[in-house]
């Protein structure tokens, strides 16, 4: 159950799919894979959490960093497909209030294009 992620770009929107455990051991790798994200102003990024089974504060840290960079680059970051316990972690951390989180990819596409 190791962590995996891949980035696919479609119609100018980057889709990052996450799977496995995003914890203190794996968050560093994930963080480094996102270096080029939001290098361009106004980048649009969606993250698919449906494959992610586990996230700790170390993973949340990476997500917060990405969100900060999106704000700086005047881009947009939309998260979707969070499993219930992952969503609970987001809830507890107050991230649902500050991040754009939707149910599925269609909603994410619609939101990001709007």
């Amino acid at each position: 159950m190791t962590f995996q992620s891949e980035i696919v770009e479609t119609d100018g929107i980057q889709l990052i799919s996450l799977s496995g455990r995003l914890d203190s051991a794996t968050s560093n790798v994930f963080e480094s894979s996102l270096q080029k994200l939001f290098e361009n102003q106004g980048s649009l990024v969606t993250m698919n959490f449906s494959g992610l089974d586990y996230i700790s504060s170390a993973g949340l840290r990476v997500i917060l960093m990405v969100a900060k960079r999106a704000k700086q680059a005047k881009g947009r970051l939309v998260l979707f497909g969070l499993q219930p316990h992952v969503k609970e972690v987001f809830e507890i951390s107050g991230f649902l209030k500050i991040l754009e989180v939707v149910n599925d990819q269609a909603e994410a596409q619609a939101l990001i294009k709007a």
Binding site: D23, S24, A25, Y54, S56, L64, I92, S93, K97
Partner: protein, 806 residues
């Protein structure tokens, strides 16, 4: 003109300016007296000289009388001795002649005196039988010498220069004796009856003839100067008639020589008349001289009387003028003195006619004007006084009114202050936690109605207790308001459960936002965890709290010197931690304790506080200690007025049980699910997670929570507790009962309470403001129902409880 006069009299004015009135009068008096004396001296001298002269003349006259007497006697002796040769000069005559000679010696006619003496000796020694002619010649020589002496004496006695009787005296001392001698000689010559003698007698007639006018004018002078001298005049006329007749006879003899016989009786008669005239004239002249002398004396007396009278009159007048002036001046002086002493009705009355009346009149005018002026001023003053009194009365009434208002206002203020005090005291908690293992008590005594200190002890949402003590700068209402605001802000911030440093920093920012009076507050805020004795605290300019252990050792807790609240915003504060164990007593206090001053102005001070705290017993409960400290300070100040609010808060950890024994009760009927020794490396966590997942296969939700909490706590221990040391082991156990899942972590790190020390994240911040990290401990607290950390001496024990109910 006046200048000229002034310059002219400058020396006199200068002298007068330097003399008093009495001296001025004395000076003038003396000068007048001297002038009078100077004038009178010559007058006296003159009168005196005149009288002296008259005396000399009279003396001369007296001498002359004696001389005339002797002369007459001598003439008679010569006649007698012709008729009778035996006639000798009498002894009496001799004595008279010798007296004349002696007197002549005395008044200076020595030569004549000696000659007379010589001739007189010849007369005396002439023998009786000698030749009559010779005797006649000698006696005639004596008579001629006497005549010369008479003339000399008259000259010496100044008889011939008398201004009134010079002619008279000439006749008396010169002409008349000559006539007398001539007549005597004629008589003697005729008696001798010799041819030669007859011609001699006729020749002598020439002397008589030429003497007539002289005799006339001389005797006439005497008659003119003396009244009642008709007898003398008659005698003169008789003599002159006789001499005229003698001349007639002499003329007749020239024709008929026999007529010579008629001549002798005529000569004898004339001789007698001449002698008589001489005697009378001498008497009258003497009387005249005597009268003159008396007259001179009278003149002297009159002059003296006049001078004395003049002196007396002048002195009298001067004294009068002096006394009058003095009286006027005295009146002026007394009047001005009395006026100056305040007797304003004084008027000076001077009855004189001099210039001082003008001075007095001017003074009286000034005094009247002054009195009138004073009267006017007095009237003005009185009216002003009345006006002022009315105003004062009005103001007094107004003031009384205001005072009443002020008193009412003051009462109102007092009432409100009293209310405020009650309210302030009500804000401060009077009930304190008194648990089995620990207890708190506190007290605040404001220096005035309202205090600026506050304390509090309150339960935080996570079961720990916030303990605060604070001291607002200043006293009174402003400090009380700021105290209320500060307390509200501080409690509000504290209730979030965040670290003391954050609570103080946020409170500081809030207090700085609105602080118009620029007050500030020193505060010490700590969080006490009664479960493990952990005490984390921070200080904002407040002095260190004191900790006494069970052995009675007192130490001040380490304390950062951070700035007081309300001074500058955006300040940071530093947390410190300590562990309270059984028997510990923690004292938080304000400087009202250490800076309580006795009457001798001595401060209570740190040393006394340390000594007092050291002397307390571990068994004491905090309320006893608080009242004990208050009493100790009160005993020290001895009723001196408090200068600052006195506040203290005491937390006692009771002796009864070890805190570690208060671990949650052992879960009953629990089953060990997992006992795992985890190497302290992050990449080992996934293995643990797999084990947990396997242990809780039927409850993946619990496994998720457990894994999340374990990961967070383990990364925390590795990072903060072990500082990244990877060669240790953390023991993880998991038990399950019917209701609870129990997760226990045990490390061998130094004391570290993640729940106390990790700051609470602010979940409401925006993306940009959210700090990276700081979420782990928060998530553990949120996901577990109970999360506690303990230090048991060998390491930290973390026990998490999670209900099994979904």
């Amino acid at each position: 003109m006046q200048n000229i006069i002034r310059r002219l009299f400058a020396p006199g004015i200068w002298l007068s300016d330097r003399l008093s009135f009495s001296l001025k009068y004395l000076l003038i008096g003396v000068l007048v007296l001297m002038a009078l004396l100077a004038l009178s001296v010559p007058m006296f001298q003159h009168a005196h000289d005149d009288s002296e002269l008259a005396n000399v003349e009279r003396e001369g006259l007296k001498v002359f009388i004696a001389q005339a007497d002797v002369l007459t006697t001598l003439v008679m002796l010569r006649s007698s001795s012709i008729n009778d040769q035996n006639v000798l000069p009498s002894d009496e005559l001799g004595a008279h002649v010798e007296q004349l000679i002696q007197e002549a010696h005395q008044y200076g006619a020595r030569e004549l005196a000696d000659r007379l003496n010589l001739l007189w000796t010849q007369v005396k020694t002439e023998s009786v039988d000698s030749d009559p002619k010779r005797r006649f010649a000698i006696q005639t020589a004596v008579i001629n010498t006497l005549l010369n002496l008479i003339r000399e004496s008259a000259s010496i006695h100044r008889l011939n220069v008398d201004q009134n009787l010079d002619a008279t005296f000439d006749v008396l001392t010169n002409r008349l004796p000559l006539v007398l001698e001539t007549l005597g000689k004629q008589q003697d010559a005729l008696t001798l009856n010799m041819e030669a003698m007859e011609s001699y007698a006729l020749g002598a007639q020439v002397v008589l003839t030429e003497s007539v006018p002289i005799l006339w004018s001389g005797v006439k002078q005497l008659i003119n100067n003396t009244p009642n001298s008709n007898a003398l005049k008659n005698k003169l006329e008789q003599l002159l008639t006789g001499m005229s007749q003698q001349q007639d006879i002499a003329d007749k003899v020239l024709g008929e020589p026999n007529a010579i016989g008629e001549l002798r009786p005529r000569v004898s008669e004339n001789l007698e008349l001449a002698r008589s005239l001489l005697n009378d004239s001498v008497l009258i002249a003497d009387g005249y001289l005597f009268a003159s002398i008396k007259q001179y004396y009278r003149v002297q007396l009159i002059v003296a009387g006049l001078i004395l009278t003049t002196i007396f009159i002048i002195s009298y007048l001067f004294a009068g003028i002096y006394l009058s002036t003095l009286r006027s001046l005295k009146s002026l002086s007394e009047g001005t003195d009395a006026f100056c002493r305040g007797q304003l009705s004084t008027r000076i009355k001077i009855d004189t006619q001099d210039e001082l009346v003008l001075v007095a009149r001017n003074f009286n005018t000034v005094a009247s004007e002054f009195e009138q002026l004073l009267e006017v001023i007095r009237e003005q003053n009185e009216s002003r006084q009345r006006e002022l009194e009315i105003q004062v009365q009005a103001r007094t009434a107004e003031l009384a009114d205001r005072n009443e208002q002020l008193r009412a206002a003051s009462e109102r203020v007092q009432e409100e202050l009293h209310l405020a005090r009650s309210m302030q005291l009500a804000i401060l908690p009077q009930e304190f936690p008194d648990e089995k293992h620990w207890a708190v008590s506190a007290s605040m005594f404001p220096a005035r109605e309202l205090g600026g200190d506050f304390y509090d002890c309150f339960l935080l949402p996570d079961g720990r207790y916030g303990i605060v003590i604070a001291d607002v700068s200043g006293k009174g209402v402003a400090a009380a308001f700021f105290m209320a605001v500060s307390r509200t802000v501080l409690l509000d911030q504290a209730m979030s459960g965040r670290q003391p440093s954050d609570v103080l920093a946020c409170s500081n920012d809030l207090l700085c936002e609105r602080n118009p009076m620029e007050l500030f507050v020193t505060a010490s805020y700590g969080i006490y965890n009664p479960h493990n004795g952990h005490f984390i605290y921070a200080s904002a300019g407040h002095h260190a709290s004191l900790l006494r252990n069970s052995k009675g050792e007192v130490k001040a807790l380490p304390c950062s010197h951070d700035i007081a609240l309300g001074v500058i915003s955006e300040m940071t504060y530093v947390n410190h931690t300590t562990h309270l164990v059984q028997g510990d007593t923690l004292l938080l206090y304000t400087d009202g304790v250490t800076e309580a001053f006795s009457e001798s102005n001595e401060a209570y001070g740190d040393a006394r506080l340390y000594a007092w705290l050291s002397s307390t017993l571990s068994e004491d409960n905090p309320s006893t200690l608080v009242s004990g400290l208050v009493k100790d300070v009160a005993d020290f100040v001895q009723g001196a007025e408090a200068s600052d609010d006195l506040t203290c808060l005491i937390l006692c950890c009771k002796n009864e049980e070890i805190i570690l024994d208060t671990l949650p009760k052992e879960l009953s009927n629990k089953t060990l699910l997992l006992d795992y020794h985890l190497p302290t490396r992050v990449d080992e966590i996934s293995n643990l997670a797999e084990a947990v997942d396997n242990a809780l296969l039927d409850r993946p939700d619990l496994a998720f929570s457990a894994n999340l909490c374990l990961e967070e706590l383990i990364t925390n221990i590795i990072q903060h507790g072990l500082k990244g040391a990877g060669d240790r082991l953390i023991r993880v156990r998991m038990n399950i009962s019917e209701e609870w899942l129990e997760i226990i972590l045990k490390d061998d790190a130094p004391p570290f309470d993640p729940f106390a020390e990790a700051p609470e994240p602010d979940l409401d911040l925006d993306v940009e403001d959210r700090p990276i990290g700081g979420l782990g401990v928060h998530m553990v607290k949120m996901m577990m129902d109970d999360a506690r950390a303990y230090y048991d001496g060998s390491g930290n024990l973390i026990i998490l409880l999670k209900t099994l109910s979904k």
